[in-house]
Structures are given as structure tokens and as C-alpha cells.
Amino acid sequence: MTGYIASEKPALTVNNLSTWFYTENGTVRAANSVNFTINRGETLGLVGESGCGKSVTARSILGLIEPPGEIVRGEIRLGSTNLLHLEASKLEKLRGRDIAMVFQDPLSSLNPVLNIGLQMVETIQAHRKTNRKEAKRQALLQLDRIGLPDPERIMRSYSFELSGGMCQRVMLAMALLLEPEVLIVDEPTTALDTTVQTQILAELKRLQRKMNMSLLLITHDMGVVAQMADKVAVMYAGSIIETAPVRKLFDHPAHPYTRALLRSIPRLGQNDLTPIEGQPPSLFNLPAGCPFLKRCPETLSSCYDYMPSLEEVSPGHFSACLTAHKVELPGVSSQ
């Protein structure tokens, strides 16, 4: 099997995005000069630990940053539209129709006092001029497509009557109702059992292929990324520190953090663990230099001076590490 089949037309481009939060205790630089593109039909896995800025990046894309947070600079393009310069009313129209998002906690994303059917019909009618009957038909169809048994009953149910896995499928069905070009999923299966996780990820992949949809998959689970993504961006302390096609990243991780992260995950049939010592730095007033500095086993003196920028280490593979630029990576073919 070769890599992914995706056209080279970017569906979503994020350029130099910085989102900061001005709090009483100082400025939190939650996302710093974030860059990535996702082509049509492609999946980008955005990985990192909690607080690394992956969710802030997603919320920035959808214009969901509220004070004290602010997008201080950058550009977010959905196709050819710059979302940051869009009027609120236009952005509202676009959200849900062209770009949609599924959050981690499905129970708090659904309204507990309205039944599922009503919420789905509302979503459709907010964007399309259809009558109730037609909207209901579309909702039923979508629930069926996502693999939920007995859609009629689900439509009549309230969120608390469904399991976490079923709620997340409902959220996914709602996000896909209007067939968006780009779907952002933020830790969609983290709260679920692995047996349910696989089912949902499988449905998501199937529908993505069918609709040729672009996917931004936010997760901390390297396993999920390996299984789902075409490209990966690794975030640490607000910055993307490495990005590469999925196989390159797992086979030849260039950044010391990515390498340490891959060594630290428990794997079946292996009982030696190599943890990363220390903790991620606080995002309040990050010092100059590389944010991974204190936990890094291979520092140079210049690591203390400035934050390295992403440099290409092999075609399509970028790493923000001063040491990575120098070493010749074994086995990486330059095409």
C-alpha cells in the first residue's frame, strides 16, 4: 500500500498563527507561529501533551477565541477565504457548512433538554432552506451512515439516555450533516473505550474517503495518529517542533522530543519504558531558547539563545532543532 491519495490543493492553510492570552499573571503564549496546510482528502494529526496549544490552534481556526485570548497575528485560509478577515455573520454561515468541529466531551456538546432529532434538524435548518420533514429525513440518513443502529429511536432520545460512544457518533453525524470540506476533531475518542474507539475511527475514515474531506485530528495518542494520519505535526509548548509524512515521522523522528515521546509510550509485548524526565514548561513568559531544553538529552550551547525555526531535514520533513539540522539521517531517501 502506498501513501495517501490526496490532491495537492490545500483545503486549509494556517500561516504564522499566534494566539496569546493576556491574563493577570502574565501573557500565555498558547500558540506561537503555527504553520501547516491540509490538502483535500488528507488527514493531519496534530499531537502533543495537554497545554501544548493544540486545542487553542483548533479554536483559533474556527474563530472561537474569546478574551483574554487574542489572535495576535497570522493567516487562516479555508480554500481561498481568509477566515481572520471575515465578518462575524459570514464566519457563522461558514462554520458547520464548510468547516466543522467535534469536541472531546460529547455529553457537554449536546443539549440535554432537547432530543437528538430536534438538535439535528435545527442544525440543518440553520444552514439550508428545507422543511422539517426533509431535514428529518437527512438527519436519519446521516445517523444511519455513521453506523448507529435504530436511528429512529436515537432521534427521539436525549443525550443522557445514550452511551458516551453513541453520543460521540451523534456529534460526528451532526458535524457531517452539511458535508464540510474540513473537519476538525479534538480528541474525539479519548474518553471512550478502545473497542468503541476503533469503531468510531473506522467510520470516520470511511466517511472521510467517501466525501474526500480534509481532517485535522487532534490527539495525544501516537497510536491513533499512526493509524489515521497522512501527515503529523508535533506540538510542544505552543510551537510545532516537527512535521512530516506519517511514516517518516515514526521511522526517522528528527526532533529529540518526538524521539523521546515515541520511546515513552507503552507498547504491547514490550516491557521496557523510557520516560521523558521533567515536565513541560509553563507557558507564562516562556524564556528564550528551545522550550524542550530542560528535558533534552542532546543540548548545544546555542539552544539557550533562541527558539530554532522549522528547517527541512529531508523532503517534506521539518524539524525545529539545532542538532537535527546537522545530522545526516540514516535511511531517509531524498527523492
Binding site: 473505550d193 478502545t194 476503533t198 497510536g223 507503552p266 507498547r267 519504558l273 521523558i276 515536565q279
Partner: protein, 320 residues
């Protein structure tokens, strides 16, 4: 003789009548579980949420009263011990929970938190202080952390405080209920490694409860797999991914997302569908049959019994 032996343990939760005055069936959280844990052994307990694994852990630690069955600790029946003797018994069991902050008093600093169990058992002040310093060092906390409140510590550090407190009375058995699930990826490995090295250094026994099969397999000696209140398979942790015989265990293994993009695609063909049924209405016959890809007629009728697959490896499935 095993350190701990559990025989046919049962816990049913009866529920109040619903508003429409219909009586509701009891929830069979733990339904006839037997297991043993030897000294210095780590028994991993895995299963989907709601399978009863936490209830089983709480029953063993005597935080929950059994409905039926027996628990033997060092050969002595302990499931109906009460009062002062229960209090004395408790030194031997300690629990580490998933939620690192709700298990620590937010208004207490680290030192009194760690010293409290020793105070409960009347240890002298100087002894307590020495032991506390020793424990801080043992779990990898700094001396200065002793004077901090839980909110000043990170999740990983808080879990280290929980571990230190649990070890204060030198227990024989630690019940670890999802001890690393709430932690970040890079911290998870640190705490797992700490639990691993403490176990080896102090010859501790763990009941290690988790939904994360990969994490369990790195730390456990044997793994018990639970489904709807019953244990369906017990097997040695080493080589588990190959040796597992029960269709449910196989499904759990296949559902672990492999951090290997060259083996992508396997995940996209889920081995089991659906979710576990309501534990107040367990299906007849083998409880896994409605989701089992291999189920036959007799699976729907007869209860499977345990079969010995190999030394230390038992599974309850008609097809084995």
C-alpha cells in the same frame, strides 16, 4: 499459599424503584469472580468501562461490602471482618486512584498528607518525619515539595504524593485503579516506571486496574480480563498478544491503536461491534455472545466454564 485469594466474589447493587413504581433489576457489578495474587506479583485487571473492575478492586480493599463470596488474605477470611480488626487489617491494603487531585486534601500540605496514615497508627513524630523524608525520596519528590499544597504540584507529582502516602504503612498489597490514566503521555511513563521499580525494590503486590492493555502488559506478571462482572481469561502478561485465546481478549488486543503507521489499516476493521450490554440484564449463556464474531448456538444457551490452556492460562469460552 497466595497472598490474596478471592473466591466466587459477588456484588449486586439493588436499585430503588423507578418513579413509575416499576422495580428494577439489580446491577451485577461483580458476578462470581475468583482470583489469586501471590507475594511480589502484579495482577493486571483489564476490561471496558462498566465491566466491574473498579468495584472488584474496592471489594478487595474492603471499601465496599460484598454481597457474597470470600476473600482470603494470608489464608485468613477477611470479607466480614469489622471494627477495630478491620482497621488493623487496612494497613495491609492501600489504594491509588485515578483522580490525582480529589484523592488529596486541598487544604493540607504534602507532609501531613503523607504522615497521616502513620499518625493513625500511632507512630512517633520523629519517626514519622524520617519516614516521610524517606518516602519523598523514594517516589522522586523534592524535599521542598513537602511544604507545598496539592494545587502547587503537577498531576504527575500529585500521583507521586498518593503513592508515597500509600506506601507509608508498608502495605503488602496496592490496589492501583487507573493510576496513570489521567496523566499526560510523557508523565505516564514516568509514573509507570516508578510503580514498576517500587514493586521490584519493595517486593510489593499490585492489583493493577486499567483499561489500557498496553500499559498493563508492561507492568503486570499476569493479566485478568473482565467482561460484564466476570473474568473471562487469565494469562501471563509476557507474550499476551500472541497467547490470548478468548475472543474478547483478542478483540481488546486488536483495538489497541498500534503506534506503527506501517500497520495502519488493521484498526479500520474492528473485531467487535457495539458496546457491552446493560449489566442489570446480562445475556444468557456466554455473556460476550451478542458481540462475539465466533458465537455459535450453544454460546447463547450454556455458560462456558474455565479451561486450562497452558500453565497459569485459563479461559472461559466454548470454542477453546
Amino acid at each position: 499459599m497466595s497472598l490474596l485469594e478471592v473466591n466466587n466474589l459477588v456484588k449486586h447493587y439493588t436499585r430503588r424503584k423507578s418513579l413509575s413504581n416499576k422495580s428494577r433489576p439489580a446491577v451485577h457489578a461483580v458476578d462470581g469472580v475468583s482470583l489469586t495474587i501471590d507475594k511480589g506479583e502484579v495482577l493486571g485487571l483489564v476490561g471496558e468501562s462498566g465491566c466491574g473492575k473498579s468495584t472488584l478492586g474496592r471489594l478487595i480493599a474492603r471499601l465496599e461490602e460484598k454481597s457474597n463470596g470470600e476473600i482470603y488474605f494470608r489464608g485468613k477470611e477477611i470479607s466480614s471482618i469489622k471494627g477495630g480488626s478491620l482497621r488493623l487489617l487496612r494497613r495491609n491494603f492501600q489504594v491509588i486512584f485515578q483522580d490525582t487531585s480529589s484523592s488529596l486534601n486541598p487544604r493540607w500540605k504534602t507532609r501531613p498528607i503523607i504522615e497521616e496514615p502513620m499518625l493513625n497508627f500511632g507512630m512517633e513524630k520523629s519517626l514519622r518525619q524520617n519516614k516521610c523524608d524517606e518516602l519523598l525520596d523514594l517516589v522522586g519528590l523534592d524535599k521542598s515539595d513537602a511544604e507545598k499544597y496539592p494545587h502547587e504540584l503537577s498531576g504527575g507529582q500529585r500521583q507521586r504524593v498518593n503513592i508515597a502516602r500509600a506506601l507509608a504503612l508498608e502495605p503488602a498489597l496496592l490496589v492501583c485503579d487507573e493510576p496513570v490514566s489521567s496523566l499526560d503521555v510523557s508523565i505516564r511513563a514516568q509514573v509507570l516506571k516508578l510503580l514498576q521499580s517500587l514493586q521490584q525494590k519493595l517486593q510489593l503486590s499490585y492489583l493493577f486496574i486499567s483499561h489500557d492493555l498496553a500499559a498493563v502488559s508492561t507492568i503486570a506478571t499476569r493479566v485478568a480480563v473482565m467482561y460484564l462482572g466476570q473474568i473471562v481469561e487469565v494469562l501471563p502478561a509476557a507474550g499476551l498478544e500472541k497467547a490470548a485465546a478468548h475472543p474478547y481478549t483478542r478483540a481488546l488486543i486488536e483495538a489497541v491503536p498500534m503506534p506503527d503507521p506501517h500497520r495502519a489499516g488493521a484498526l479500520l476493521r474492528p473485531a467487535v461491534r457495539g458496546e457491552p450490554p446493560d449489566s442489570s440484564k446480562p445475556p444468557p449463556g456466554c455473556r460476550f455472545h451478542p458481540r462475539c464474531p465466533l458465537a455459535e448456538e450453544r454460546c447463547r444457551i450454556e455458560n462456558p466454564v474455565y479451561k486450562k490452556i497452558e500453565e497459569q492460562h485459563y479461559a472461559a469460552c466454548h470454542l477453546l
